[in-house]
């Protein structure tokens, strides 16, 4: 006797493969492997050590940077990524010209400000990346469950295109899209702390040249 074989379902197979691929891509992106909350290829460094960007005078010896209105105003401006790097020299020189006899000390204050502001901004970005990783991990889990649910629903012989399977399919497609879009932006997200460090280093170098 000929037994009824289940109707091959191309969607089920491709959806299952897609989910599998996505779920596998998650941990592959995450480096180092021991830290599931760090999805970037760059090494996770919690903060920027002052000594890797600055060999000038001790920042504390210059006093509290926020107490110096002009210095802190300049620090905010320099730290902002809206200020193009090619304007940095002009801004520092203009400040130095008006800074009076304490110019070197005040320039150190400016750097103290840039360092603190950039460090805070970087810490926020690092938090954001961790949240992003957690979100992606949760979404990967959900995709797996949704894929399972859809496979189960479609496995039953009477399951054709019922409303339930259609809804499940839609949900899976939608979540897959979100997951993929987020994964694509990962490369830019991971670059942000690096860009902040680059900017801080460059500004530090220019101020250091003037306080030698």
């Amino acid at each position: 006797m000929k037994t009824a074989s289940p109707r091959p379902n191309p969607f089920r197979r491709s959806a299952a493969l897609a989910v599998l691929a996505l779920v596998m891509a998650g941990p592959a992106l995450a480096q180092p492997k021991s830290d599931p909350e760090w999805p970037c290829p760059q090494r996770r460094t919690p903060d920027i050590s002052l000594a890797v960007v600055w060999t000038g005078p001790d920042l504390a010896s210059a006093g509290v940077w926020t107490d110096d209105l002009e210095a802190s105003t300049l620090a905010v401006k320099l730290a902002s990524r809206r200020t193009p790097l090619d304007q940095v020299d002009g801004l520092i020189d203009a400040f130095a010209k008006e800074a009076g006899p304490d110019v070197k000390v005040r320039l150190v204050r400016v750097f103290a400000g840039v360092y603190e502001i950039t460090s805070l901004e970087r810490a926020k970005v690092m938090d954001g990346i961790t949240r992003y990783a957690r979100g992606q991990n949760r979404l990967a889990e959900r995709l797996r469950d949704e894929g399972d649910a859809l496979s189960k629903a479609k496995d039953s012989p009477e399951a054709a295109d019922t409303r339930e399977t259609q809804e499940l399919e839609q949900k899976l497609n939608w979540d897959t899209r979100i997951f993929e879009e987020r994964a694509r932006s990962l490369i830019y997200v991971c670059e942000t702390p690096v860009l902040l460090e680059q900017r801080l280093f460059e500004i530090g170098r220019r101020i250091q040249d003037r306080v030698k």
Binding site: R43, T45, S49, L50, A51, V52, V53, W54, T55, V194, E197, Q198, F201, E202, R205, Q208
Partner: protein, 332 residues
């Protein structure tokens, strides 16, 4: 009509003069120049070491890393890692003259002091490829430890050293028999090897171990493991990579990666005498022939720092291409 034909003596003289001009041109083309490989920029940058300015930038193969020159300064050899080849480049025009067989994913290499052969580390195949650069012919493939990387040839050309990243070893290979004659355990993830000019010491940097091992090539024993400490910089950030030792064997310079510093080490007492702030993720180093300047590649700040060697001061930062990796300075 009879064409003018200069007397033979004149012809010989003019030919000799032409030859001399060509010779001067060939030697003058690269003298006083530094060449930088830009890993993400897929380019090389030429820098005039007298004016410290960029004279030319040219596209090359994908992911260029290791870069060296022939002893006569006539060609540049470049590892185009993602193209799985070594490119031979004209230093005057920066044009790729030809491509050599390198094996998979070449990263670093060393040239025999005579200018041939070339020893290439193939990280993925766990072997060293020995290549005749004239014939573009693979002479031998030597299996070594996992992920070979740093390469150095002893000044007498008799011993080749290959470091393997995962096995944490410096392998000593006889260049006549291509047999491994000794394995020395060094720090974690050895990256780079450099012989002193007299061949009496071998410096091997360990990126993860954070140390530089000084080995006696005679006994093949470690004489000293140099450690680095920078106040305010975490231990993990100090990742030694490129090493260069002055010709007199008295001073070693060590690039410390993301610590953004170059350590100045007394190569006789092994005391670290200074840490110079250069650029971000400092990777490789090269002296000018007079050893008055040292060039450093800084991968994250996309520049090259110039160190005044006698004064031990960083005197200039020169913008290069994307992620500068290796640097070579033309011989005199």
């Amino acid at each position: 009509m009879i064409a003018f034909r200069p007397p033979t003596s004149l012809r010989v003289l003019s030919a000799a003069l032409m030859g001399a001009v060509v010779l001067v041109a060939a030697e003058g083309a690269s003298a006083g120049m530094a060449y930088v490989s830009n890993e993400s920029g897929n380019s090389i940058t030429a820098i005039d070491t007298a004016t410290l300015t960029v004279t030319q930038t040219a596209k090359v193969g994908r992911r260029p890393r290791g870069i060296i020159m022939s002893p006569d300064g006539k060609v540049i050899y470049l590892c185009a890692s993602d193209d799985h080849s070594v490119q031979v480049i004209d230093p005057a025009t920066l044009k790729v003259l030809r491509k050599l067989k390198s094996g998979q994913d070449p990263e670093l290499f060393a040239l025999h002091p005579s200018g041939n052969p070339l020893y290439i580390a193939n990280e993925n195949d766990n072997q060293v490829t020995v290549l005749d650069v004239e014939k573009n012919k693979v002479v031998a493939q030597v299996p070594v430890g996992t992920e070979p990387e740093g390469m150095a040839v002893s000044p007498d050309g008799k011993i080749l050293v290959a470091t393997s990243e995962t096995t944490n070893m410096a392998h000593f290979i006889d260049t006549e028999t291509y047999k491994i004659v000794a394995n020395v355990l060094v720090g974690a993830r050895p990256r780079f090897a450099e012989f002193t000019r007299d061949g009496k010491k071998l410096f091997v940097s360990a990126e993860v171990g954070g140390t530089v091992s000084v080995i006696d090539p005679e006994t093949r024993k470690i004489i000293k493991k140099i450690e680095f400490k920078i106040p305010g910089v975490s231990k993990e950030t100090i990742q030694p990579v490129g090493v260069r030792v002055t010709r007199d064997g008295k001073t070693a310079f060590v690039a410390l990666g993301p610590a953004n510093r170059v350590a100045v080490v007394n190569a006789e007492t092994y005391a670290v005498e200074d840490y110079l702030l250069v650029g971000q993720r400092v990777w490789q180093l090269a002296f000018t022939p007079d050893e008055k300047q040292l060039f450093t590649t800084n991968g994250n700040s996309n520049d090259v720092s110039v160190i005044d060697v006698p004064a031990r001061k960083v005197v200039k930062s020169i913008k290069a291409g994307g992620a500068p990796w290796g640097v070579v300075v033309a011989p005199q």
